[in-house]
Amino acid sequence: MSDRDRIVELIPRLRRYARALSGGRGEADDLVQDTLARAFDKLHLWRPERDLRVWLFSVMHNLHVDQGRARRARPEVPMGGEALLAPASGGPGDVLERQRLIRALEWLPAPQKQVLLLVALEQLSYDEVARALGIPVGTVMSRLSRARATLRALLAGDGRAPTLEVVR
């Protein structure tokens, strides 16, 4: 299988990550489209010893940063935000449960969100995340820790409103 075929095979995973990162389907697919276009252009720069998946995520990450998508204003934590994120009834498949998760993700700063999604959703190792994002592993771990603490506080709905300091 050629490198190009392998890239095509990874499109669903790129879409999943982009969707979780940006929320909207159109915006996410725009990002995937730009990523594929650049990846096909830069394929000669890819060295086989670098995992193709990691490389594609790094291409996507750079585009996300370049295009200022990562800096796009995220919603401010509203008054009573903790009530909006109060636990929903029902199992994990519950629609409300998903909406709470998506809203909570919107509140995460992009650098934390990227690390969390690459680890938890895309199941990259910490080393791979560090390479994809171009940051030290120690930074990966601290961002992961902060992302999880923030999300847990948001989703637990334990009555503690997340402070801006926590979500930034």
Binding site: P12, R15, R98, A120
Partner: protein, 257 residues
């Protein structure tokens, strides 16, 4: 706790690694013992794992969605080199055809075959283009027509093929053996593209009937009308292409001149 590696204190990083299934085997027992002894920490780690499960529950369905055409359309075949290769293959096939018919370049058969052949090559090169199929888009149609008319030295008219299901994407200027050539591109809602190639006809040719030429995968209907050569190319069944060609011909013919 035993000795050596397993007796080290458990770190925050190891708790994450445990939640992510990335903990080395040698440390699993130590971390599990630690969590059993610290219920608050165990609840924290369990919370992280629930978030992971929710992420998959929410976003894994994306993996099963069909990939939109605009993404799968970026597949390698749409890249320049394979397209140029396809165009080169068409060119060689065409030359071989003339050779076999005993017509050397410069003869009548050569000139006759030139129009559909050039049109098919231009179609093969530009129609797979995802991002820049045209130089000027249909949103600037007036400008497009004025520009190409000026370059070709005649009043061009862009046929409307909307009723047949093909919308104008735009057009571009191409080099031809008798000066500039215009290419207009259309697409149906599924993204199927057809191109109309308009070039100045060979001197002396003022009008011909419809002719059809199969150039590889590309079918071409072509004709000459008032000293202009027209060629409509697409990878479509011949009957469908003829239906569109009829419409193009009827609209161009209506132009006074």
């Amino acid at each position: 706790m035993t000795s050596g590696d397993e007796s080290r204190p458990v770190t925050e990083e190891e708790l994450h690694a445990h939640a992510d299934g990335l903990l080395p085997d040698g440390r699993r027992a130590a971390v599990e013992q630690y969590l059993a002894a610290h219920p608050e920490e165990a609840a924290r780690v369990e919370g992280w794992m629930r978030i992971t499960a929710s992420l998959h529950d929410t976003f894994d369905e994306v993996l099963d969605e069909p990939v939109p055409a605009r993404l799968s359309g970026l597949r390698p075949p749409s890249r320049l080199w394979p397209r140029l290769a396809a165009a080169a293959a068409l060119l060689l096939a065409g030359l071989a055809g003339w050779w076999l018919r005993g017509a050397l370049p410069g003869g009548d058969a050569y000139r006759e075959a030139m129009l559909p052949h050039r049109a098919a090559v231009a179609h093969a090169v530009y129609s797979p283009e995802v991002r820049h199929p045209v130089e000027v888009g249909s949103d600037q149609e007036a400008h497009l027509v004025a520009w190409l008319s000026k370059r070709l030295g005649t009043t061009l008219r862009v046929p409307r093929l909307g009723p047949l299901g093909y919308d104008l994407l735009g057009g571009r200027l191409l080099p031809g053996d008798r000066g500039p050539v215009a290419q207009f591109m259309y697409a149906d809602p599924a993204g199927k593209r057809l191109t109309l190639y308009v070039a100045r006809a060979e001197s002396g040719e003022t009008g011909t009937a419809f002719r059809f030429s199969q150039e590889g995968a590309v079918g071409v209907f072509y004709w000459v009308d008032r000293s202009m050569g027209y060629a409509l190319s697409a990878e479509l069944p011949r009957a469908e292409l003829l239906r569109v060609a009829d419409a193009v011909y009827a609209q161009i013919e209506k132009v006074p001149g």
